[in-house]
């Protein structure tokens, strides 16, 4: 069900799609109901849907509000489309470290304030070279709050008056404050390089591996292979990105050969695909951090004993087994397990109901009623809320779930409630800490404010040596882990599936370079 509206995501396409059948069935009901062509959908193509030349990928789409503006990329499908048409200066490896892409190299001065980026030789689809001017235009545009780029906050650290082009293929960025983690910004979504002066995206021109053919908002996007791409031409002649918001529709299309790629398979579909055998699952482990946000700036969670009680009292194993249907692993209250900068030497949280009960009693909160905000945005939340309610009852807290409308869920929980569910896809750990945990940050929803933590983050940013810098980040995270109120109770897998004739795609975390990398794909 429908799951339909856009699904707002973490810093970019992150979470699972919209409430699918839920809204859809309701709709059907509410309004009072509510073979010769053979496996069609793709003309005279082979059963596999593409005739070896045309590749079709099915995604949950954002509906009629979609644009091809790469700087406004709220959903996974936007990211997939942006990857086809555009390049970014850098790109993320699987552990979210930055790797050069359109940039050939980067270097900073000793203070970490002035960054020189050298561009490789590349062309836009119209034959013009990619120059420093294009980069400056793109970044200026994405840093404008009116554009709505997910990277806007990070880009606003650039002092554009002082930054300048230094020749055709060299840019000098001057930052408002030193930052040795700046290269991760160059790989952020919504930082795609567009030709200088571009304002209109009806006939978009980029420097990516595919050229634009056609697109309707909420509908199919068609692309053609661009033979002159600097990184080598794609293997397929045409790429089609088709919308299918209902998971069962994507699954059926894949199983019947109407598409080659079905994004975002969950629970039961994954089990079915495993049995099916002919298709291949691409499972990215730890792709999504499942969080419970406890607002430490408000009653009752301004009492650290209650935060601690919840940390100790929830049964993470059971949550993974039931709410995630076993498709995930236990979280340790910190974002980014396995990513660069995650402290590796942490003890797992052992469940201790007695201690939790004691803490609740000490806080004088036995029988306290707490409401957790949830929504159908992620299928795991409602079962998790239900299970947590039973677990919290064991140590004296009465949890009830308040289900909010999915499309406005994230904007509502910014200001409302004391506890809420959230998910975040993979992104650089330092960015997450800066934007989500630092005191006073716009996206810090738990209202955590620790001077010690902020000071460590600042020191890390201005520390040149990488090992030393990561060491400081690790220290900061250990402090935030106990006090921030941001509980990561699990990491869930992300699953995409490909048809039998597809090769050249591997399981990769969302937002990383290799995810939905259709220029490397082969059919047949």
């Amino acid at each position: 069900m429908t799951r339909h509206a856009r699904k707002p995501s973490e810093p970019w396409p992150g979470n699972r799609p919209e409430p699918g059948r839920r809204s859809v069935l309701a709709a059907g009901g509410a309004l009072g109901l509510a073979a010769s062509g053979l496996l069609a959908g793709c003309g005279g193509d082979t059963k596999d849907g593409g005739g070896g030349d045309r590749f079709r990928a099915a995604f949950t789409a954002g509906g009629s509000q979609e644009t091809l503006d790469p700087h406004v990329a709220p959903n996974f499908v936007d990211q997939a489309r942006a990857k086809a048409l555009y390049d970014t200066l850098a790109t993320y490896t699987d552990d979210m470290s930055a790797r050069a892409r359109l940039a050939e190299s980067w270097e900073s001065d000793t203070s970490g304030t002035r960054w020189r980026i050298r561009l490789r030789t590349a062309e836009f689809h119209d034959g013009n070279p990619v120059t420093a001017k294009d980069v400056l235009h793109s970044y200026r545009r994405a840093a404008d709050p009116a554009t709505g780029s997910p990277s806007q906050v990070l880009l606003s650290a650039i002092d554009f008056d002082a930054s300048r082009a230094d020749g055709e293929r060299s840019v000098l960025f001057v930052l408002k404050a030193p930052n040795f983690e700046f290269p991760t910004v160059l790989a952020g979504p919504g930082t795609e390089i567009i030709p200088d002066g571009t304002k209109d995206f009806r006939e978009p021109i980029g420097s990516g591996p595919f050229t634009y053919v056609s697109f309707t908002p909420g509908g199919t996007a068609r692309y053609r292979r661009w033979a002159d791409h600097w990184d080598g031409a794609p293997h397929i002649a045409e790429l089609e990105i088709v919308p299918a918001n209902e998971e069962s529709a994507r699954l059926n299309a894949l199983l019947s050969g109407q598409v080659h790629y079905a994004a975002d398979m969950a629970g039961a579909s994954v089990e079915r695909l495993k049995k099916e055998g002919s298709t291949r699952l691409l499972t990215a482990r730890r792709a999504t951090a499942q969080q419970l946000l406890l607002r430490t700036g408000r009653k009752p969670f301004d009492d650290p004993r209650l935060v601690r009680a919840v940390q100790l009292g929830i049964d993470r194993e059971a949550l993974v087994r039931v709410a995630l249907a076993g498709h995930g692993e236990v979280g340790n209250d910190l974002f980014g397990m396995g990513l660069r900068g995650y402290p590796e030497d942490l003890e797992p949280r052992e469940r201790d109901v007695d201690e939790a009960r004691k803490l609740v009693a000490e806080a004088g909160a036995e029988g306290l009623a707490v409401t957790v905000e949830t929504s159908s945005v992620d299928a795991a939340w409602e079962p998790a809320a239900e299970l947590m309610a039973r677990q919290l009852r064991e140590f004296g807290l009465r949890l009830t779930a308040n289900t909010r409308a999915s499309s406005t869920y994230f904007s509502e929980i910014k200001t409302k409630g004391v506890a809420a569910f959230n998910t975040t896809s993979t992104l650089p750990v330092s960015d997450f800490l800066q934007q989500r945990v630092r005191g006073g940050a716009a996206r810090n929803q738990t209202q955590y404010a620790s001077e010690e933590f902020d000071a460590l983050l600042d020191r890390a940013r201005t520390t040149r040596g990488e090992q030393e810098r990561l060491g400081l980040l690790a220290r900061a995270q250990k402090i935030a882990r106990d006090g921030s109120g941001l509980l990561v109770w699990a990491f869930s897998d992300a699953n995409d599936a490909v048809g039998p004739s597809v090769s050249g795609l591997r399981a990769a975390p969302p937002n990383s370079h290799d995810w939905a990398r259709f220029d490397r794909v082969r059919v047949g």
Partner: protein, 276 residues
Amino acid sequence: MTPRTKTDAVRTRARHPWIASALLGVPVLVALAGPWTAGDAPSAEGALPSQPPGAGHPLGTDVLGRDVLWLVLHGGASVLGSALGALLVGLAVGVPLGLLAAGPRRGFDESVMRGLDLLLAFPGLLVLMTLAATGHRDWYWLVTVAGILQVPAVARLVRGAALEPGSRTVVEALWMQGHGWAYIHLRHLARQLAAPLATDAGGRFAVVLYLLASANFLGLGLPSSSPDWAVLIERNSDALFTQPAAVLVPAGLLTALCVGGNLLVDRALARRRTDR
């Protein structure tokens, strides 16, 4: 085409409706007796979700890792109750309005019917989505809205049947004989309306049932963890092919209920006609 032959009547009368009775009886029995027969509620730890039938779980587990058998035994009463409730709301409001419209006052007819057209023209989905989004989630909101959504249909049906030519002839005859409005409407029209209304109510029950179930997914009505049969069907729909029991058992019970109920209604109507 022979009208009401002797064999027709005999055949109808002779056949005992044991199939229809069983179809209706089993779900009702499960719904009413279920809560007393089953054991404890599923534990907080929970088993693996959507497991096919196996040891300890004769019908497997649902998407939340709960025992499907337990859920099925506990989820009948709420679904029957709320669907009947919504249906009653629809009938309680719709039938009088329909009769009023079919009555002698032309002005009433126009205002009632045009008013109902408004309701019909209003997107019910928007109301449900708004109720859900603004926190009016209690079951009685849903039952009321689901019932009200049925009103235009019921009222139109009643009005249509009451204005049916045969009916009018008799009503006019009764009117001439000096019977009062109440007598005509309560005695004669009730008989006249019973057939289409009962048929409609049988079908409408299924409509209401699934409307209630689907509204659940907007966060309206019963909580999504409720063992309610309709909720179970919706929640487990994705697992239709991996754990079919979680969908097909409650769906089978609901289908049996609807089918049995409808067949008995049909039969009763047929008997009434042939016995007349």
